[in-house]
Amino acid sequence: MLDKLNEIEKSALESLKSVTDAAALEAWRVANLGRSSALMGVFSEFGKLSKEEKPVIGAAANRVKVKLEAEFESQVQAVKNAALAKSLEEEKLDVTLPGRTKFIGRLHPSTQQLRRVLAILAEMGFQVYTSREVETDEYNFQLLNFPPDHPARDMQDTFFIKTDSETDNPMLMRTHTSPGQIHAMRQFTKTNPQDPPPIRIALPGMCFRYEQITARSEVQFNQVEGLAVGKNITFADLKGTIADFVRRMFGEGARLRFRASYFPFTEPSAEVDVECFVCGGKGCQVCKNSGWLEILGCGMVHPVVLQNGGYDPKIYSGFAWGMGPERQLMLRNKINDIRYFWGNDVRFLEQF
């Protein structure tokens, strides 16, 4: 009897090896573990055994049954795994084919850069103040200490608006956002002319210069100015504020220097150079080998401007600084042609 069981086990396991699909598995199970299988035959003949044989044979038959069942289960798993492996293999894709894209929108690069600048200024307590793009000579020049025919006007060639008659105060396209300084100061002084409140504002917007359109010059460009006016504001504060701004804008390690300069509406005035962030100051095309990039102009608000805004220069002082988001983008992205900005070629816009 034991021999027979061994024989059953051996032949069943042998035949199981060649079973590779679900149908054959079921057939094997019926043949080897089903009611009419040889193994079940052993169990059905159990009653015929002697008292001594019963436990021995019983244990052996059970062992074979457990063994066959276990082997069957593991073969079921193996067949499943093989089938899965096969189908996984068959479903293999060319992962290098392009993915399906979707049309997406983007902000114009100038808007993106304006936001970066304004976000930093907002953190520093400078709030956005906007004003009109067509201005009068008075607001764009005279109140900002550019007298008529002053050489400083050469620095800002101007688009004038056609009018019916000649006037001392022609309309023009603002050449900078600085007219907003006067608008803002006058608005603030209205609330309390005797003791006007301190000011901290950011003035963003499009400005215009009468220049031929070339790779280097454009008729319009964005500008952002910061303006602070108060009773205790010094040139040292201006340096500190600019240093803070530059650190946030260009990174912790950005070295900067203040060069004396001239703007009619500030005095003392300075240009601020930042160590070239393209070459790290070693000299490259972008910085024309100087290692420095001119990124903003600044200065203490001129007493004439404070006066024109309604702030007594004996009591108040302030500073202002201005910069160009397009210029920042050009430097940062090595853009060699300013005409890209208003050209709006989608191949340019898509890169931001």
Binding site: R100, R132, P151, A236, K239
Partner: protein
């Protein structure tokens, strides 16, 4: 302006300072050095990773290989007529040098020269610019055989040494040039190209820059240069004051006029060193007399004008010359020395004698009294002019000159006589002239000295630094200010070469700026503002616009930003307006007016891009400009959108993408408005929007307010553009109107009971609007119907002609679990209402 370092050294000791040190000090103090051009001096060598400071250019001359030498004889070349062989001594050895230089060719075969000619001699292996190549190309001098003669060295032209572009002829050095000395030690130089700011006109000259350097380095300015102090020599010559008189008719714009006389000048080229400096400064060397006026101007800043005195005397009938400076008559003419006849206006000033006009005052001399090669006696003018007047005149006649550059920025009248003295000094040195005694000096309007009171508190308040009055005084004295301390106050008087120091509060700011510059911006501390932070209120309008941009981008639209300037022709393709804001000085015909339509801007951009992609969805937010008679234009803010092309990008497995139509745009607008939290929106077809397809456009209203229009571009409008075949959808919003609508805030609570979904389809007449049906469903269903979504519009013969079927997904929702019976009850109510109101029939 370009300033050679060698010239600066006439006025200040620069030992121990490198060219970069000098350039850095000037740059930080407001005289920005744009470029350093090396012309002989050693150039800085940067090690790997070392930082550069300036844009540099030029050439260094090898001290071993390029030296001063002398030509002792010019011999014929045995095999070439046009070449000569030079017997040359380089301080160590005799050399034979081959040259074709035309300016010594006439000495060929004249034997040993009586006076050797000093030249710049380059030995084998020298690095020079190629004299024959276009532009500046470096080459190394190599040994070669030229027409059978061994050539291993050369005498150099200015081009080869980088002094000018001149390659025709060799440099003939001054007779005192030391033979054998390295050329770099003798005339090696570096040129600083300095930007002169409008308030620093005083520094547009060598002495001005030297004075600043003296202040910046604490060194001495050697203005006590004898040439400035020398009064015209007394001699037995007749004094100029007996020969010339001057009358000024407009002292307020011509406050001073001085003149000196020099006799028996010998007109010839200037010494080489003078020519070299002038050339490096960017001015052509012409003759000793013209060079002397230019040299004195570059050195001191006072432009000068030389008249041929004999011409003036002749015109005066050999009597006393009388010069008058007066306003020109309108239409009066003068021929300037560039041989152009100029028609004048009354704002121009003319220098005249009794016979007529001689020169355009302060801008350019006249042709007739010009100095020529035959001139013997010279009347040298140094005058003062109002800078605004000169600026206008130079602009009016398009005459930018070195003189008008300086005069139009302001030259202090105190410089006039100094300039004349300096000019005469150089003429006497270079042209062997004899200076007549005296100087004619008419000075009716002497400017008042600028005097400013400064306190230590002023400095502390504006600059944030603590300085004593003595320290402030020291800083200003370095810049030639005169300072006096009295009662805790410093009285500061501006030096008489400066016109940029005002009075009162302005003067104070001017002086404080000089304190800051002299102290050094770098030395001023960096502090955090201690002043009160104003109340923070934000800018809701700006923030709202930025939110709008974000919504549009989220909807897949690309932002563009356009020129505000356009042309009426371009805009009128889409909208017609009668009036525009026009430019008095348009830069180009296509940029002659300010835009009135933002749609036009976006369509222009679409047209430019149309071939670059299959699909576009663009938007712009910005101002348009509505003219107001005799006043500033209105600048309303607008939003414009344009879409055209494919809905989906075609790809390797997507071939059948369809194109955008009316409802694509409408869907985006619906999402946009819901993003702005706007409700109660209605869409009404309109046939009064001329640029849009009359059947495919609508006004967007909130209540009775029209906030925008949208639709498909009218075929006749589209024809005027190149916009491809697909329909073009456009929308425009008035942002003030949109912003004027109060948004609806608050959300509908999400029910915890499961909703019941059901579809119904109703058949209605074609004329019944979807909007009407939806509104009826919502009204009838009330709170029980939480969502109504049209999912199909169907037309078929079975339904009947002139009819359509509208199919809706309805979502029923209640405060309790809704049963089928509850849903059926609502549905029946809705169907009944639709039957009653619009004759709808339930489609089974």
């Amino acid at each position: 302006m370009k300033i050679p370092i060698s010239w600066l050294k006439d006025f200040i000791d620069l030992d121990g300072l490198s060219v970069e040190d000098i350039a850095r000090k000037l740059t930080l103090a407001g005289m920005e050095v744009d470029e350093i051009l090396y012309v002989g001096l050693p150039m800085p060598v940067y090690k790997e990773g070392e930082k550069h400071e300036f844009k540099t250019n030029g050439i260094a001359w090898d001290k071993e290989k390029i030296v001063v030498a002398e030509i002792r004889e010019v011999k014929a070349h045995p095999n070439a007529d046009k070449l000569t062989l030079l017997d040359l001594y380089d301080g160590e050895k005799d050399q034979v040098v081959l040259t074709g230089a035309p300016n010594i060719f006439h000495l060929k075969g004249t034997g040993r020269l009586e006076k050797p000619i000093k030249v710049a001699y380059a030995k084998e292996g020298s690095v020079l610019y190629d004299g024959h190549a276009e532009g500046q190309v470096l080459m190394t001098l190599k040994r070669a055989k030229i027409r059978g003669v061994d050539s291993y060295s050369m005498v150099c032209s200015e081009k080869e040494l980088g002094i000018t572009e001149e390659s025709d002829g060799i440099i003939l050095l001054d007779d005192d040039a030391p033979v054998g000395t390295p050329l770099a030690d003798y005339i090696g130089d570096a040129v600083l190209d300095i930007s002169i700011l409008p308030n620093m006109a005083r520094n547009a000259n060598v002495i001005g820059i030297a004075r600043e350097l003296a202040a910046l380095t604490g060194r001495e300015l050697k203005v006590e240069s004898p040439k400035l102090q020398v009064q015209p020599a007394t001699s037995n010559l007749q004094s100029v004051t007996d020969l010339v008189e001057i009358e000024l008719k407009n002292p307020e714009i011509n406050p001073r006029f001085t003149a000196g006389l020099i006799r028996d000048v010998e007109i010839k080229p200037s010494p080489y060193e003078v020519q070299r400096r002038l050339k490096l400064a960017g001015i052509r060397a012409i003759s000793n007399i013209v060079d002397a006026t230019n040299y004195a101007m570059l050195e001191l800043g006072q432009p000068l004008h030389a008249f041929d005195y004999d011409v003036l005397k002749e015109r005066a009938g050999k009597k006393k010359v009388k010069l008058t400076v007066r306003s020109a008559k309108d239409g009066e003419k003068v021929t300037t020395l560039d041989n152009k006849e100029r028609t004048l206006t009354s704002s121009n000033l003319l220098v005249c004698d009794e016979k007529g006009s001689l020169a355009l005052g302060g801008v350019m001399g006249g042709l007739e009294s010009e100095v020529t090669d035959n001139t013997k006696n010279i009347l040298l003018e140094g005058a003062a002019w109002n800078f605004i007047n000169i600026r206008k005149t130079a602009k009016q006649h398009n005459l930018p000159s070195e003189a008008s550059f300086r005069f139009s920025r302001g030259v202090h009248p105190a410089m006039a006589d100094q300039g004349v003295k300096l000019g005469l000094h150089y003429m006497s040195q270079w042209a062997n002239g004899k200076i007549a005694p005296g100087i004619v000096d008419v000075y009716p309007l002497k400017p008042k000295d600028s005097v400013v009171q400064v306190t230590a508190q002023d400095v502390k308040k504006l600059l944030g630094i603590d300085l004593t009055l003595q320290q402030i005084s020291d800083l200003l004295t370095k810049l030639d200010f005169k300072c006096k301390i009295t009662n805790n106050q410093l009285q500061v008087t501006a030096p008489n070469h400066r016109m940029d120091i005002g009075e009162g509060a302005i003067g104070l700011a001017d002086v404080l700026e000089e304190v800051a510059r002299s102290y050094g911006y770098d030395n001023i501390p960096t502090t955090t503002m201690a002043d009160a932070l104003p109340p923070q209120t934000g800018n809701p309008v700006h923030e709202w616009e930025e939110h709008l941009r974000d919504l549009l981008v989220a909807l897949g639209l690309q932002e563009v930003l356009s020129y505000r300037m356009t042309s009426i022709e371009k805009e009128s393709r889409v909208v017609q307006h009668n009036t525009y804001v026009q430019f008095a000085n348009p830069i180009a015909p296509e940029k002659s007016v300010l835009r009135r339509s933002l749609i036009a801007s976006v369509l222009d951009n679409l047209e430019k891009n149309i071939r670059l992609s299959d699909s576009f969805a663009l938007f712009e937010i910005g101002s348009i400009f509505e003219p107001v008679k005799n006043n500033l234009p209105n600048e309303p803010r607008k939003l414009a959108i344009a879409m055209t092309g494919l809905r989906k990008e075609n790809a390797w497995d997507v071939k059948d993408s369809t194109t955008y139509d009316f409802y694509d745009l409408k869907g985006r607008l619906e999402l946009l408005l819901s993003g702005l939290r706007l409700t109660n929106i209605s869409y009404a077809g309109s046939d009064s929007i001329l640029h849009l397809h009359p059947g495919k456009c609508a006004e967007i209203k909130i209540g009775a307010v029209v906030i925008g229009v949208f639709g498909e571009l009218h075929p006749l409008v589209k024809e005027k553009y190149e916009l491809g075949d697909s329909p073009v959808l456009v929308a425009e919003f008035d942002l003030e109107a949109v912003r004027g609508v109060n948004p609806t805030y608050g959300i509908t609570p999400v029910s915890e009971f499961p909703p019941v979904y059901e579809d119904i389809a109703v058949i209605v007449d074609e004329s019944v609007l979807a909007e009407t049906v939806e509104a009826l469903i919502k009204q009838t269903g009330g709170r029980s119907v939480s969502q109504v979504k049209l999912f199909d519009v169907y037309r078929d013969e079975k339904i009947g002609a002139g009819k359509k079927s509208l199919a809706y997904n309805l979502t029923y929702q209640s405060d309790k679990t809704m049963t089928d019976a509850d849903a059926a009850a609502i549905r029946n109510k809705i169907v009944k209402r639709l039957e009653h109101a619009v004759g709808a029939k339930l489609r089974s």
